[in-house]
Amino acid sequence: MSVESFPAASAAPARANTTVFHRFLRRRMAAVGLALVVLLVLACALGPFLLRHDPLTINMRGRFLLPFSDGHVLGTDEMGRDLLARILDAGRYSLLIGILAMSISVFVGGFVGIVAGFYRGILGHGLMRFVDGMLCFPSIFLLLTLAALTSPGVVTTTIIIGLTAWMSVARLVHSSVQELCQREFIAAARALGLRDWRIMIGELLPNVAAPLCVAATLIVARAILLESYVSYLGYGIQPPVASWGNMLQKAQQYFNSAPWLAILPGLMITIAVAGFNAIGDGLRDALNPRGRPG
């Protein structure tokens, strides 16, 4: 009865792959999201090599230049640094932090979810109650507390975001694994005498991969948002390194005289987050054909 909710397990793998991809592309929002993300990643990865301006070079005579002046496509900021170069460089950090934090979340959440779902008993219950407890704190509270009490920087910010976003993954994986453990192929694996860890990695993990992928994409979006919050509030990425969040912190003061400084980084965050959200939604619908279209 639960076969349909795990298409990877039921359909023939080769055909399933193409249909999932086609189903994904057929949703216009998902396709647009994918295009946006690919474009953004390419621009941030390659852009800095193609630009004439360095994101850190200060030019006090060319402060607050309007967009499209003096060879600065997006103008310059309060220290005369090229805004386009800074936005693309900041994008590298923001996107990278989003993806690395997601990896941490998916790893920790997947691990806890599988272990807790496989070993019910005290271990499983204890782990899941811990997850419940962590989920009671608003994630921004948790994140800011940890960020403020540890030394800020790229590495700590990434780790802290990863460690405050894994609980939803654990819950998702846990419920899937519990359901899977009722099924016959797990009983068969046990009867064959497979070691516990082989059942968990070889049998359970592939079967939760589909929902895990969906969760992972949505967590990238959330991680980028969280990074921008923390950096905007001054506890994340520290200047002179630029991230979309900390660019907004300074720009706020010059909103009246140079609004583009505040509008553009925020627009980049919105585009990146919307792109990943759209991919996640599209993946969920494509992987779960029984689910309602939405």
Binding site: R129, F137, I140, T145, L149, G245, N256, T270, A278, D281
Partner: protein
């Protein structure tokens, strides 16, 4: 029904106990500790810091410290602020009113706009209105709250001058009109995200209900469209929304923190922000626990209400 509530109540108390341990260890395990600030204060010697440590009971082993603190938590003594030595509960109590006001206003916006757009979108699925709201909700879910707040301040306050640029109504100004005037900006900004969430949930709940057999039966019997919608569909689709209030609360509370910093709103968010920059551990911990209590109790209430409202669950 009563047994169901009793079981949920016991679960909630256990959860609260776990939350207190998690919260305490989180702060206890972070490097530096509450006295790191004083170690760098010029006038203070190492001996002073140690004396302070003994005075505050911070030299005791972690379990003892936890028991002391948790014991106080139960009897309503949440410790004292390091900053001005006032009781933590009093500090939180002095700010919570403004935050509740903001959250209530935002929820009102989210529920009215979100539910309406969700229902309208579902009734004509893939229609023009549905397409537009689907895109708008996606944008609303992705826009950083603080940036949206900055835009709102820039456009509606600095350019158009319609709303004040921040802060609650000044002290002494008791008119509700002024209070409302100050509330509009932050409430809309905080409400945006929840509006999108409510709209999405409502839309899919209505779509799901519309696909049920009894709706087809009602249609076949020739029930009027309006009666079908209000009497058959919404009665069922609105029920699960009760639990959404509880589920949305953590993100609403977190969003309030960000909104308050942008609009310099004198609530819990500003208090939290001040406390983390002062490393005021008792207040930080108190606020973490307070928010968790709020989340747990609202989930408990939403669950119970759901049980009361849904006759199918009442019999069990």
């Amino acid at each position: 029904m009563v047994r169901r509530f009793g079981a949920r109540l016991i679960q909630s108390v256990i959860l609260l106990w776990i939350v207190s341990i998690v919260g305490f260890s989180l702060l206890y395990l972070t490097p530096g500790g509450p006295l790191a600030m004083f170690a760098e204060t010029p006038g203070m010697t190492q001996e002073d810091v140690e004396r302070l440590e003994r005075q505050l009971g911070l030299d005791q082993p972690a379990p003892i410290q936890y028991l002391r603190w948790a014991g106080g938590l139960v009897v309503g003594d949440w410790g004292r602020s390091y900053r001005d030595d006032s009781p933590v509960l009093e500090v939180i109590g002095s700010r919570i009113g403004q935050t509740f006001k903001l959250m209530l206003a935002a929820t009102a916006v989210a529920m009215s706009v979100g539910l309406a757009t969700g229902i309208l979108g579902a009734v004509r699925q893939y229609g023009r209105f549905d397409r537009v709201t689907t895109i708008l909700t996606m944008i609303a879910l992705s826009i950083p709250t603080f940036w949206f707040g900055l835009l709102v301040i820039y456009v509606f306050s600095q350019r158009l001058g319609w709303i004040p640029p921040g802060n609650a109504a000044p002290v002494g100004d008791d008119s509700w009109l002024s209070a409302l005037h100050h509330l509009i900006g932050p409430a809309l900004v905080l409400g945006l995200l929840s509006t999108a969430v409510w709209s999405r949930y409502m839309r899919s709940a209505v779509l799901e209900t519309l696909a049920q057999d009894y709706i087809r039966t009602a249609r076949a019997k020739g029930v009027l469209r309006s009666r079908l919608l209000f009497h058959h569909v919404l009665r069922n689709a609105l029920l699960p929304m009760i639990t959404l209030i509880g589920l949305e609360l953590p993100s609403l509370f977190g969003g309030a923190l960000v909104t308050e910093t942008v609009f310099t709103w004198p609530g819990m968010g500003r208090l939290f922000f001040d406390s983390i920059s002062y490393r005021d551990y008792p207040v930080i911990l108190g606020m973490l626990i307070f928010s968790a209590i709020l989340v747990i109790s609202s989930n408990l209430i939403a669950d119970t209400l759901y049980g009361v409202a849904d006759p199918r669950l009442r019999r069990r």
